[in-house]
């Protein structure tokens, strides 16, 4: 009974914000914060109460093949927790950050729509409904990328919108083919019927979906929009996009479709591994050469998604555990890094690393949290990124694919290198005299958003401890690995 509220609340908040706003931004802030706090509470509650069970919510009182259903299992609630957690911190960060733009209430409304879309994609068990929610989320993402109103932002948004629409059309094509073959849109039902059909159908639809959702997840070669869009958006939106957006729309859907619906076909796992490795290596190389701090972070998102995809593609219990864990961790530290970048941009007025320097003294909180996040993304103990990468390494070697472990190692080394570069140019070294003129104030809410994520960077390491892992990650892995189980759980057999 909880899941529909996770979609209704942000939608309602969005409409109420547009309804009552009109120069009264404080109401928009109050509404959105209330909404997101309640969403986070609900999603945590639902995650904890779900465990390894599966609950189905059937819309409008009809029964399953006829209606849209919402599936509440460990995987979806896990993703919901991530989305709403990052949303809350992002909103905390936004409150003072977004004042520099005109008409903030529009921002909050779009933000709520974004959350509604992502929550919908995650919660739904109906493939067309997934498409619709995806479009809602994408639509608000396009608008939010362009929110700043600078030329580059419009450019990024336009490119993103065109490429996103092409991939959405591809997804719709895939959905159409699936519908024509199975005559149903409920994913569990499709999963049930697919094995009785020609396997070629799965392959073709799978390839189309891989391209379509691969673009959402920014897997190379479908990644070209990401560095533009993520670096142009306002910082809290960059954090949302990099932290959870590409994961809920891309990776989550890929996992759900390819494991629970297509049943984990071996050839797709191979493709996952290959494109994961390509994304990981090329992404990190691209990041290494960047001087624009947000572009650097954006390219790292591609690289880190590569890790997740490799973990998923290994298709062993450990590999998926690593992938899912890394997904969670990446959301946290990448959001944190984007907040740091936002503070840097706000205070120095530039995104070019070469024009910063010596900010560690002026921005102690930012510098400290950024170091934690950097070490975390580079995979150094005791931060969470270390453990998820370690699990992926172990899984790759255990699965008899040490090559991927070595590529992941190389990626990790280069990640460290590029974040050391970022640290050195932004926070240490000689102070840039021109930069301190426009030093804006970092508000308390922003600080707390960063600190809370930094603390999470440390705390989520604890999820590897078996006792906690059994409560948190293991049910998620079980859902993914239990391929036909999804059919039985959803259809109630």
């Amino acid at each position: 009974m909880i899941l529909p509220f996770l979609i209704i609340i942000p939608l309602l908040a969005a409409f109420l914000i547009t309804l009552i706003s009109g120069g009264r931004d404080s109401w928009a802030i109050v509404f959105s914060i209330l909404a997101v706090i309640s969403l986070l509470a609900l999603s945590v509650f639902s995650f904890l109460s779900t465990g390894s069970q599966t609950f189905i919510y059937e819309m409008s009182g009809w029964k399953i093949p006829l209606t849209i259903c919402l599936v509440q299992d460990a995987l979806s609630t896990f993703m919901l927790v991530i989305v709403n957690l990052i949303a809350l911190t992002s909103l905390m960060f936004s409150v003072s950050y977004i004042r520099q733009y005109s008409a903030p209430w529009k921002y909050y409304a779009l933000f709520m729509l974004l959350i509604a879309g992502m929550n919908g994609v995650i919660a739904t068990g109906d493939i067309f409904n997934l498409f619709v929610f995806m479009e809602i989320a994408l639509f608000s993402a396009y608008a939010l990328v362009a929110f700043g109103g600078k030329a580059e932002e419009y450019e990024a948004s336009f490119k993103y919108a065109v490429m996103g629409s092409v991939s959405s059309t591809l997804i719709l094509l895939g959905i159409g083919i699936l519908y024509s073959a199975t005559s149903t849109l409920t994913m569990a039902k499709i999963a049930e019927i697919l094995p009785t059909l020609d396997v070629k159908l799965t392959y073709w639809v799978g390839a189309i979906f891989l391209a379509g959702f691969g673009l959402k997840a920014a897997i190379i070669p479908f990644h070209a929009w990401l560095p533009d869009a993520h670096s142009s958006a306002p910082a809290p939106i960059s954090a949302m996009l990099s932290g959870v957006f590409i994961k809920s729309l891309g990776v989550y859907v890929l996992i759900r479709l390819f494991f629970n619906v297509f049943g984990g076909v071996a050839v797709f796992n191979e493709v996952f591994l290959v494109i994961g490795a390509i994304s990981m290596i090329i992404g990190v190389f691209l990041a290494l050469g960047q001087w624009d701090i947000k572009r650097l972070l954006a390219y790292h998102s591609i690289s880190q998604i590569g890790y997740i995809i490799i973990g998923i593609g290994l298709a062993t219990n450990l590999g998926i555990l690593g992938g899912v864990f890394h997904l969670f961790n990446h959301a946290i530290f990448k959001a944190l890094l984007f907040y740091n970048a936002g503070v840097l941009e706000m205070t120095t007025g530039t995104r070019d690393l070469r024009q910063m320097g010596g900010l560690a003294k002026k921005l102690p909180t930012t510098s400290f949290t950024s170091m934690i996040a950097s070490l975390s993304i580079a995979g150094l103990p005791p931060f969470n990124g270390f453990f998820s990468k370690l699990i992926i390494f172990i899984a790759a070697i255990q699965a008899g694919r040490p090559v991927y472990a070595f590529l992941a190692g190389l990626g990790s080394l280069l990640t460290l290198a590029s974040f050391m570069k970022m640290q050195r140019y932004a926070f240490y070294g000689k102070e840039n005299k021109d930069a301190d003129k426009t030093l804006a104030k970092v508000s308390t809410a922003m600080k707390w958003a960063m600190i809370s994520l930094a603390v999470l960077c440390l705390l989520t390491s604890l999820m590897v401890i078996p006792g906690i892992r059994e409560l948190t990650l293991d049910p998620v892995v079980a859902v993914i690995m239990n391929k036909t189980g999804y059919i039985a759980e959803v259809l109630g057999r």
């Binding site: 392959y203 390839a207 891989l210 070209a224 150094l380 103990p381 005791p382 040490p402 290198a417 050391m420």
Partner: protein, 602 residues
């Protein structure tokens, strides 16, 4: 979860570090000092008493064997002495952070040593790397930040290899689980070799072996001097060589080829380090390059496979940590008084800082391998061990080993040469005018260097009776070694005493020396005509074949870090030109990607 005393080695300093965050500086110092003493006592208890294991989640995580215990003892000893040095004189701006990081570093180093579980070893290993970074960024200058970056990339990056290596070991020998204590994996098959070399990379990066050494001199130059003595000179050597010893003694059974390879790498490390050290003008950098050079002996010793040389290598590691921290601290004491560490600007301080001078002199003798100091003893053991190995090899290998040995002995001679320069430049020669009113270092500083000097002498004179018997030979399960040739320190000290006596007699006979002012071209020598200690060595730098090498080394063409940097930036540039901002081009990727997927998936 059974927490035994071993885990206190980690928990206590860690908790102290966390408490230190909120304390005022004076209490931080006291608390840290107390911790160090407690740890020393605890280690003594472990040494004498029954060792218990710490279990976490029903697996043995912390345990000590003889090797670990040996390393632990010296971690505590050195951290205590260096702490003594740091109690007074740490730069005001670093003080707060320093006494938080110090116990933390001890905690993590202890953790890395007592870990017998791969994962916990990886974690503590990485944490010590982070500590290194945090020490390096204390100074906020441009150079210091660059050094911190470089250090972290090399040391932190090598963690990846450690992880891969240890995971591969686990994969190859699933029977042992993650336990590292009694594994004997045969080096056979590609994966085993890859695993071995991965871990060797990690050990080399930590200890500063060629070609991953380049962070050591930079760190020595730019980090606070106490941390330079503490980490690259002492703890990181202990850890890196500990790991090397661990894998080559208890985890892998090495093959002759690997022995030869390690010996060669060791010889290369010795010679590159010392050649670079010779031409340095910065005292700390000189010591840093020597810290690299000396690692070569340890690598040779441990990699050689002969018991004598392994014992020698371990002994050399201990000796090195002692005399190198001694030298760093002595230089640090000088630097704190004079405000510079540039050898060109120093000179003639021997009469002003006699105690520091004495300590530095003993350190210099020890590192140069002059009997009867400890450096000679361990080097001697290593040479003998390598000769012993050479005896059992085929002719080609023999020649190769001899070449390596000659290189190393030559390197030892060069070490002496460069320390002549070091000592002369700081303590001898004419004192520059601005150093006129320099006084002896504070009490705690000369006490620390003095203690280390006493250790230098003591370990040299009573090597067989003290360190070898109690610490190192138990590691190898050898009751005693009878391969030490005719060398006996006492006999040697007799000879030296004789030589000294003869020297004194000669001095006594010819003591009528006339002191006079120096004139140049009929004028009194000006300050600018003062001959600095480094001047003589500029000749070496300009020798024909060496000049090119030195030039390219100074331009950093030979540094693996810079090579890798250029390489990766080249690749990055290539990729980023493809991202040319043309949306039509991006769309093409999308369509082509889709087509490839459609073609591939079948």
């Amino acid at each position: 979860m059974a927490i035994s005393e071993i885990s206190y080695l980690i928990l206590v300093p860690l908790i102290v570090a966390l408490i230190n965050i909120v304390l005022p500086v004076i209490l931080r110092k006291l608390l840290t000092a107390g911790t160090v003493i407690y740890l020393a006592l605890l280690t003594y208890r472990l040494y004498t008493g029954d060792v218990t294991e710490t279990l976490i989640l029903d697996t043995v995580v912390f345990s000590v064997d003889k090797l670990a215990l040996f390393i632990l003892i010296f971690i505590q000893v050195l951290s205590a002495i260096i702490l003594l040095f740091s109690l007074k004189g740490v730069k005001q701006e670093f003080q707060k952070a320093f006494f938080v990081l110090y116990p933390m570093t001890i905690a993590f180093s202890n953790g890395a040593v007592v870990s017998v579980h791969s994962i916990s070893l990886i974690i503590f290993w990485g944490l010590t790397g982070i500590m290194l970074y945090l020490f390096a960024i204390m100074d906020k200058t441009k150079e210091a930040s660059d050094t911190a970056k470089k250090t972290m990339i090399i040391v932190g990056g090598s963690d990846v290899f450690l992880i891969l290596g240890l995971v591969l070991i686990w994969f190859l020998e699933p029977g042992y689980g993650w336990n590292l204590s009694n594994n004997q994996v045969l080096l056979s098959g590609e994966l085993a070799y890859i695993a071995f070399f991965c871990i060797v990379i990690a050990a080399f990066a930590k200890a500063g072996g060629f070609p991953l050494h380049s962070w050591v001199p930079d760190f020595a130059k730019d980090a606070p001097v106490e941390s330079a003595a503490f980490l690259p000179a002492a703890l990181d050597k202990l850890l890196g060589i500990y790991l090397l010893a661990r894998i080559s003694l208890t985890i892998f059974k090495l093959t002759p080829f690997v022995h030869i390879l390690l010996i060669t790498l060791g010889a290369l490390t010795v010679i590159t380090g010392v050649m670079m050290a010779m031409i340095q003008h910065n005292g700390r950098k000189l010591l840093g390059y020597h810290a690299v050079s000396q690692v070569g002996y340890m690598i040779m010793g441990i990699g050689s496979g002969s018991i004598l040389a392994i014992v020698g290598g371990l002994f050399h590691m201990v000796n090195h940590t002692i005399y190198k921290s001694n030298l760093f601290l002595a230089l640090g004491a000088v630097e704190k008084r004079t405000g510079t560490n540039d050898l060109d600007e120093l000179g003639g301080l021997g009469t002003r800082m006699p105690l520091t001078f004495l300590a530095a002199l003993i350190g210099a003798f020890a590192i140069s391998g002059i009997p009867p100091f400890n450096g000679f003893y361990s080097k001697w053991m290593i040479y003998q061990g390598i000769l012993e190995i050479a005896r059992s090899q085929s002719a080609g290998y023999q020649i190769w080993l001899l070449i390596c040995l000659i290189l190393v002995v030559f390197g030892s001679a060069l070490t002496l040469a460069s320390f002549m320069k070091f000592i002369h430049a700081i303590f001898l020669g004419k004192r520059p005018a601005k150093l006129a009113d320099i006084n002896e270092a504070p009490f705690n500083q000369w006490l620390a260097t003095g203690l280390l000097s006493i250790l230098c002498i003591g370990f040299g004179l009573f090597a067989k009776e003290l360190p070898l018997k109690h610490f190192i030979l138990p590691v190898m399960n050898q009751p005693g070694l009878n391969l030490l040739g005719a060398y006996s320190p006492l006999m040697l000290i007799g000879l030296f005493g004789l030589a000294l006596l003869i020297g004194l007699i000669i001095y006594w006979i010819t003591r009528k020396v006339r002191f006079d002012e120096v004139y140049l071209g009929g004028m009194e020598a000006l300050e600018k005509f003062r001959i600095t200690g480094t001047a003589f060595y500029n000749e070496i730098r300009n020798l024909k074949p060496l000049k090119g090498i030195y030039d390219s080394a100074e331009k950093k063409y030979l540094d693996i870090y810079d090579l890798g940097k250029h390489c990766s930036f080249g690749i990055a540039k290539l990729f980023s030109t493809i991202h040319n901002g043309q949306m039509l081009f991006y769309n093409l990727w999308l369509v082509v990607g889709l087509l490839i997927l459609l073609l591939v998936i079948k």
